[in-house]
């Protein structure tokens, strides 16, 4: 159904009781405010859909129905008393399973944390609660956010709603699949090298990796601390921005989180003033034919709207993937040293000495990709090799950052595909880690440089969604949203439904 057909359909279905799952968060907020919808009715509809579809899609790993219903009723009561907390009040937000919610599992889809119940809320959860949002269930992911297909989850498989034989992307695969399947209107993901944007692209939804420092990482299980960011995922640009606004608040518990004075965002730019940079030769590098065609069509659209299209040079782009896998694994090997079987997480029943306890607990608790990355990170940091690998990678990271900042002096945004090819079949790349690492070739530079980046649905490769990727200067989120909103308004992708 295209946009006009969808609007006609909306108008001829005033009841909407069986289609609440199609509404955007922005539309839900309007109805809640107008009193034509209650949070309880919305949640009931979503829970019915969860029961009908979650087994098929595998997005959620946990959902506490009584708690969700109680939150919805509390929201309805607040609204009735004229004390609604804002636009998100009464709207469900699903949470990736590496973000702490007090009293709920925090598994990171790992056997290591399978039994852990979080004793506290992450900063983003506190912020969502303060905004009245409903904390709605936990989403599958690659173990400790390491992967690009969600196949590394030790809990369950997640399937791409557009084609159940294919992966949803990863590591925030549960988040993207839940949105695409209409199981929830908003979701949180986390992004270390593309873990929000790559699954968003594969599932036809919107995902933002904010500027490093915009959102507190307090309560996000650490993978690679200098790269990790929590970010919003949604089915529309407006929804993504709505969710970001609730999450991006100062927090002294994360020393890299911007304080109030550091949060001045760059203003949006009208499309006829917009300067878009296209990295030279970007579509020649192993990009699928239909992905390249969809990207070219997006570029042509912007040109037709009066935007200026220029080629930019990012000569160190080829260094991004190796640099990332040195820096990320080095930080991961250090961060994951805390899983020693002592304070929380899995402890081996076989251990009789402290060293055995550490070694056996880790060997039993971690899956293959996590072990691989810990070993790689241990190697690049080890005596005799740290200068050749880790220190060189930091120098390369500096170079990648300066090249991006120089390019972003000349243009407002850099546009590329989000992923070179559409979602692949489950099992296709599981035995070849290097091939899987190349999924993130376009998304990794934004993490290395700490820049905001957004994936926007822009077409199909056969029956599979494809996204384009916008990167901007630090704190240019409003620019990214404004630029992509123009594209979204003129195309029907936002109203396309996965065939479930």
């Amino acid at each position: 159904m295209d946009k006009s057909q969808f609007l006609v359909w909306l108008m001829t279905n005033p009841d909407m009781s069986d289609a609440l799952h199609l509404l955007s968060a922005t539309e839900i907020a309007q109805r809640l405010q107008a009193g034509t919808l209650t949070s309880r009715a919305l949640v009931d509809a979503l829970l019915a859909r969860y029961h009908a579809l979650n087994k098929k899609v595998g997005a959620f790993t946990y959902l506490a129905e009584p708690d969700v219903i109680a939150q919805a009723e509390a929201s309805d009561l607040r609204r009735k008393q004229g004390k609604a907390l804002g636009p998100l009040d009464g709207i469900p937000v699903a949470i990736k399973d590496n973000i702490a919610v007090k009293g709920q599992p925090l598994t990171c889809s790992s056997k290591m944390l399978a039994k852990l119940i979080s004793p506290y809320d992450a900063h983003v959860i506190e912020a969502l609660r303060a905004a009245g949002a409903i904390i709605y269930g936990r989403l599958n992911m690659d173990e400790f956010a390491m992967g690009s297909s969600t196949e590394n989850s030790a809990l369950q498989k997640t399937y791409n709603p557009w084609d159940l034989a294919r992966i949803p992307g990863g590591s925030s695969g549960g988040s993207a699949a839940a949105l695409a399947a209409g199981l929830v209107p908003l979701a949180l993901g986390s992004d270390t090298g593309g873990s929000i944007r790559q699954p968003a692209s594969h599932c036809g939804v919107v995902g933002l990796k904010p500027t490093y420092g915009l959102i507190s990482r307090y309560g996000l299980v650490a993978f690679a601390s200098s790269l990790d960011q929590i970010g919003p995922m949604a089915r529309s640009i407006d929804d993504c921005e709505l969710l970001l606004n609730a999450l991006a608040t100062p927090d002294a518990r994360d020393m890299t989180c911007f304080d109030k004075e550091q949060r001045t965002s760059l203003p949006p730019v009208a499309v006829n003033q917009l300067r878009i940079g296209i990295p030279r030769g970007i579509l020649d590098k192993g990009v699928g034919q239909e992905v390249a065609a969809a990207t070219r069509a997006a570029i042509d659209f912007y040109r037709s709207q009066g935007a200026t299209i220029v080629e930019v040079d990012l000569p160190s782009s080829d260094l991004a993937v190796p640099t990332y896998y040195v820096v990320a694994t080095a930080e991961a090997s250090s961060n994951l040293a805390r899983y020693d079987g002592v304070r929380y997480g899995h402890r081996s029943a076989q251990a009789t000495t402290p060293v055995e306890m550490m070694t056996l607990s880790r060997s039993e608790g971690f899956g293959p990709e996590v072990k691989r990355r810990i070993l790689l990170g241990t190697f690049v940091l080890s005596a005799g090799y740290a200068d050749a690998y880790y220190v060189r990678a930091l120098r390369a990271r500096s170079k990648i950052l300066s090249e991006h900042l120089a390019a972003l002096e000349k243009v407002d945004v850099i546009l590329t595909p989000t992923v070179p090819t559409p979602a692949f079949k489950a099992g296709e790349k599981i035995s070849d880690p290097l091939q899987l690492y190349l999924e993130d070739i376009f998304t990794i530079p934004a993490n290395l440089a700490g820049l905001p980046a957004l994936s926007v649905p822009c077409g199909k490769s056969q029956h599979l969604p494809v996204g384009f990727h916008l990167v901007g200067a630090p704190l240019s989120e409003k620019k990214l949203f404004a630029a992509s909103r123009v594209f979204e308004a003129a195309h029907s992708y936002r109203h396309q439904q996965a065939p479930l």
Binding site: P354, L375, F379, R392, L394, Y437
Partner: protein, 96 residues
């Protein structure tokens, strides 16, 4: 760039016990990844890394006391606890 590594030494550093199959598999895969990393060795790079540009740390936060997780919350999630404390296998041998 230096290549090759001692998988047994690495596993020991990382506190991982690997089966013979795992050792072969990870050695092969890591060698493949390290070969791919060679582009880094050949690259013309700035003499020093200035990563502070990316990760800007805020000034120290205000020194305001806050309520930490109590011992009950902490021991509740510990694999083993006794008398409000986390217990582990014996660390020091008996003197006798």
């Amino acid at each position: 760039m230096a290549k090759g590594f001692d998988i047994d030494h690495l596993a020991k550093l990382a506190r991982l016990q690997l089966s013979a199959e795992e050792k072969t598999l990870y050695s092969n895969q890591l060698n493949q990844v390290l070969t791919y990393f060679e582009t880094l060795a050949r690259a013309d790079l700035p003499p020093v890394a200035d990563v502070a540009q990316v990760v800007e740390e805020s000034a120290l936060r205000e020194d305001i006391p806050s309520q930490p997780l109590g011992s009950e919350a902490v021991t509740k999630i510990a694999p083993a606890a006794r008398d409000g404390q986390i217990s582990v296998p014996r660390v020091v041998d008996d003197e006798s």
